[in-house]
């Protein structure tokens, strides 16, 4: 157990994001959803998943996991946008996206809220969501778990879920919990709650019926080495703390 100063929620989330990549081996981690998953992917590489390929946030595959916001000191490869899009088809890629809406089967929406024909709120557009989810392992990061994000139905399916042919929706990490699809019909299940969060908090912040096992464990704490790597090496400026509401 940690002997360092108190562990923040953002650090628990980053370690949970690192765990998303456990066992992935020599593939590209495309953690585009924000600081926390980006930190998580680099943390995984710096600790238990050393073969992982990570970027510096731009087209450089960095020779080593680099601190958030810094360019790669040494590049080991080049991955401009077009090669990312080819790599989607090739498959050696695990992407972490940030959904504006997600349903119980892991269908997601980043395109628009309301009717697509004339949306109430236009968002980004589908981006690479359809291809990513159909062809690559996909996980999601939700910095603010709420019934606005976890919805019964998504308004525009930009990322396909398990019931629409997804390759693999591995898990969802939110600021409250880790959720997966380890159920017979691939409905979203509460895997663990972060320390200090109650199961009923997660249920109340979820807009569909969540599968809740009898026993819900706590999300693991990052160990001393992971905390050291996050705090001293990969995110000394504490960008992770900005992304997770206190």
């Amino acid at each position: 157990m940690s002997t360092l100063t108190s562990i923040t929620r953002a650090e628990v989330c980053a370690a949970a994001c690192a765990d998303l990549f456990r066992g992935d081996g020599e593939i590209v981690a495309a953690a585009v959803a924000g600081f926390v998953p980006m930190l998580g992917s680099r943390l995984a590489r710096a600790t238990f998943e050393p073969d992982l390929l990570t970027t510096d946030g731009g087209p450089a595959l960095s020779a080593e996991p680099v601190p958030l916001g810094r360019p790669a000191a040494t590049a080991e490869g080049w991955l401009p946008f077009r090669d990312h899009l080819w790599l989607v088809l090739n498959g050696r890629r695990h992407v972490v996206m940030g959904p504006s809406q997600i349903d119980a089967h892991g269908n997601t929406n980043i395109s628009c809220i309301g009717d697509w024909e004339r949306p109430a709120r236009q968002l980004l557009g589908v981006r690479g969501g359809p291809g990513n989810t159909l062809l690559n392992t996909t996980s999601y990061w939700v910095p603010k778990h709420s019934t606005r994000v976890f919805t019964e139905k998504v308004d525009m399916v930009s990322g396909v879920g398990w019931d629409r042919g997804a390759h693999e929706i591995r898990a969802v990490v939110s600021n409250l919990a880790v959720l997966d699809f380890g159920t017979p019909d691939r409905r979203m299940r509460l895997r663990s709650v972060h320390p200090g969060v109650r199961v009923e908090d997660v249920v109340a912040a979820t807009g569909f019926e969540l599968v809740v096992p009898d026993e819900v464990p706590e999300t693991r704490l990052p160990d001393d080495e992971e905390l050291r790597v996050m705090r001293e090496v990969l995110d000394p400026k504490g960008l992770r703390e900005r992304e997770v509401p206190a």
Binding site: F81, R127, L135
Partner: protein, 292 residues
């Protein structure tokens, strides 16, 4: 400037803009708020052209054209300014129903460009299957692999276009063009996909000087695909144009804040978009000095 006996293709932004006609399909290179041919887009704002179908991995190029009422239909996978995720003018255009939209997955869009660039009617890809991209684009058809796998794939139609605009770091007067940043985006595909491509560049150079600027493989676009070249220093402003300059984040923020409010937008237009490109660059410099 030596041009090896080949006719010079050097034009002004106004000449490029004047060559467009209402109703055309216009491709725009770059990606989000990165290396966009903004000087050429600004020149289009000053013409009466309208009813355009714009094909773009969208950024403020799309926003400006929407705000000026130039766009009938947009073909895209996203519109974003990267550090500012959502583009206010694009959002407003969608939320008021003032533009039509063809919304593709990023990879589908690239396959449409590859198809157009190589005179294929379509290219097959699985990306898009199962998603609502198929619902909102009912004209999309699928094909089945004629081989044993029998796999169903989306037949992404060629994204043909009348005119493409791209912005490069260097070009010569013949129309050869060089990128020096870390990502070519899809600019060579736009150049090959269009009937007529115009390249704006940060600096015109002698053909012999390309080798001083970057390696051979940085010569992304060949004059065989280029109808005209425009030298527009700082012409990608305020989007990223590495290594010549990064994104002007402060100005982009001003743009985004102004675009989200009709009164502020009127003031922004008045200050920055009421004159020609030289006036724009002067106004930006004055603003930068004030904000220092």
């Amino acid at each position: 400037m030596s041009n090896g006996g080949t006719t010079s293709k050097v034009l002004s932004p106004e000449e490029v803009a004047a060559s467009l006609e209402s109703g055309m399909t216009l491709g725009i290179g770059g990606w989000g708020s990165r290396r966009k041919p903004m000087a050429l887009v600004r020149a289009i704002l000053r013409t009466p052209v309208t009813d355009l179908t714009v094909v773009s991995y969208g950024g403020p190029d799309v926003g400006l054209l929407c705000a000026a009422g130039k766009v009938r239909r947009l073909v895209t996978a996203f519109v974003t300014m990267d550090s500012v995720p959502l583009e206010p003018h694009f959002r407003n255009a969608r939320q008021t129903g003032s533009i039509e939209l063809t919304e593709y997955d990023e990879g589908m869009f690239m396959f449409g460009l590859y198809a157009a660039a190589h005179r294929l009617p379509f290219l097959p890809t699985p990306a898009g299957l199962g998603s609502d991209v198929m619902r909102v684009n009912p004209e999309l058809k699928t094909v089945r692999s004629p081989y044993e796998d029998g796999r169903e794939l989306v037949a992404v139609p060629a994204l043909t276009m009348d005119v493409a605009l791209v912005h490069m770091n260097r070009a010569d007067s013949r129309g050869n063009a060089q990128y020096l940043g870390p990502d070519p985006y899809m600019d060579d595909l736009f150049a090959k996909a269009a009937d007529r491509t115009y390249v704006s560049c940060e600096r015109l150079v002698d053909t012999a000087d390309f080798a001083k600027e970057g390696p051979l493989q940085s010569l992304l676009i060949s004059r065989a695909h280029v109808a005209g070249v425009v030298e527009t220093p700082n012409g990608a402003h305020f989007t990223d144009c590495a290594p010549d300059f990064g994104r002007d984040e402060a100005f982009q923020k001003l743009y985004a804040q102004s675009a989200a409010d009709p009164d502020k937008w009127a003031a922004f237009q008045d200050r920055f978009l009421s004159g020609d490109e030289a006036a724009y660059q002067d106004a930006v410099r004055a603003w930068q000095e004030e904000s220092r």
